[in-house]
């Protein structure tokens, strides 16, 4: 190994000494220990690196950045859907399929559980990144307020267990003209937990009042029940026992 080779390698050696035992640098470091010229260069290099690292680490960070991250101050809005190109596309689709749509809608509405399937399909798109949240916040109260302000269904008291988790965001989707609200939470054990809500009135087969019905749909574990005027569904990829544990927590705001 020449001094040139050694200096090339030692240029990647961290100034804090963390690489002193890395076998990749062993020969170059040994050469620096025995060659005065290389040793002087290496000392100078470390001095330069330490000084630059110190200067860069002292660059001030905006004081409000941390709180903005934690409180999710930047609420994302969905991009406008009414661009000219989309309007033309919608018009063309409408003319082409209007007859089929009416026929399909009548058939679809007659099936029970349609809103649940719609909620799960939308959730899958949300989780895979194909769709974005309408609003984001780690505080579920902010999301509930956003949903209410936008005429989307939500309940005053969420299941007690959910109040312990930080929320991620919410989205409103539509099923046969009926809004469904989705709220996503950081659940226990790193798994996410999602809550879907829609108005109970008008559902052909609403879930039972206060007693969750557990099931598996499209790879999701679900628990559906009715609470007041709302039909609710808790959704997760976690095993069913965790889902049951979530709903076993009772309290003033429990269902």
């Amino acid at each position: 190994m020449t001094n040139k080779d050694a200096s090339f390698l030692l240029g990647a050696c961290r100034p804090n000494g963390a690489d002193s035992h890395d076998v990749e640098f062993a020969e170059a470091l040994a050469l620096a220990g025995s060659d005065p010229e290389l040793n002087a260069w290496f000392d100078d290099q470390r001095r330069f690196d330490s000084a630059i690292a110190t200067r860069l680490q002292s660059v001030p960070v905006p004081p409000e950045l941390r709180s903005r991250i934690l409180t999710g101050a930047r609420v994302s809005r969905p991009e406008p859907w009414f661009t000219a190109r989309r309007l033309w596309a919608i018009a063309a689709m409408f003319l082409l399929f209007s007859g089929l749509t009416v026929w399909y809608s009548i058939g679809y509405m007659s099936r029970s559980g349609g809103w649940e399937d719609q909620a799960l399909a939308s959730l899958s798109q949300l989780v895979s990144g194909q769709e974005n949240f309408d609003a984001r916040s780690p505080n579920v109260a902010d999301l509930q307020q956003w949903l209410r302000a936008n005429g989307s269904p939500t309940v005053g008291a969420l299941p007690v267990s959910l109040s312990r988790f930080a929320s991620l965001g919410c989205k409103t989707v539509s099923w046969n003209g009926r809004p469904i609200s989705l709220i996503c939470f950081h659940g226990p054990g790193g798994e996410m937990v999602h809550l879907a809500m829609t108005e109970r009135a008008g559902l052909e087969n609403p879930p039972p009042m206060g007693h969750p019905v557990y099931g598996t749909r499209s790879g999701w574990q679900t628990a559906a029940w009715s609470q007041g005027e709302m039909a609710m569904m808790l959704i997760t990829k976690a095993p069913e026992d965790r889902l049951r544990a979530l709903l076993a927590v009772t309290g003033p705001a429990g269902f």
């Binding site: 002087a40 260069w41 690196d49 630059i52 001030p60 960070v61 950045l65 991250i69 930047r74």
Partner: protein, 184 residues
């Protein structure tokens, strides 16, 4: 080891991520947005990560990819001529860094091509090893060494130039003060 909660992760990394973003994005607002976006992506996808030791690497990798995604359409990164030729022993100029402040260091870094700037910033800011830098940037470890070598050489030259420019600045000569009535 369990992955820390969201607030702990923010506290541990937001400052370093912001500084990394600042070196890439050339603007405080853009750097703050990149940092926020990175934590948003952590909040939505980070739960898939089971190894707490990989959180730091995940965050820096994600921020870098977000930066590339955002600027891909605006900026076509020039294919830098990776000059790996190094002088027999590069010049010794360690003392030049002693006389500068953080803003000058950032300004000098921002003049360097992003190809070299990203590994340099990771090396200095969070003192990533060359292997970790290779992981974050998605390039071979040997390429990291080349870019660090070339990047440091460029940084030294820029700082030397900065010092020469500063020393050449014309300082207005202070004229002796006179008063209406002259010296008493």
């Amino acid at each position: 080891m369990a992955v820390p909660d969201f607030a702990q992760i923010v506290d541990a990394y937001y400052a370093a991520l912001y500084r990394f973003a600042l070196s890439l994005a050339r603007g405080e607002a853009a750097a703050a947005d990149l940092t926020q976006q990175t934590f948003y992506l952590w909040a939505s996808r980070g739960h898939q990560l089971r190894d707490a030791a990989k959180v730091k690497s995940w965050l820096f990798t994600t921020l870098y990819r977000e930066f590339l995604n955002l600027h891909r359409r605006e900026t076509r990164f020039p294919l830098a001529d990776l000059d790996t030729e190094v002088a027999e022993i590069p010049e010794q100029t360690g003392s030049i860094a002693d006389t500068i402040d953080g803003a000058t260091a950032v300004a000098a870094l921002q003049q360097i091509d992003p190809v070299y700037r990203a590994p340099l910033t990771l090396f200095y800011l969070e003192e990533f090893s060359y292997r970790e830098i290779a992981t974050v940037l998605g390039i071979p470890a040997g390429t990291v060494m080349s870019r660090l070598s070339r990047g440091k050489s460029l940084l030294r030259k820029l700082l030397l130039q900065e010092r020469m420019d500063t020393s050449r600045k014309i300082v207005p000569m202070e004229l002796p003060r006179t008063s209406e009535g002259g010296a008493q």
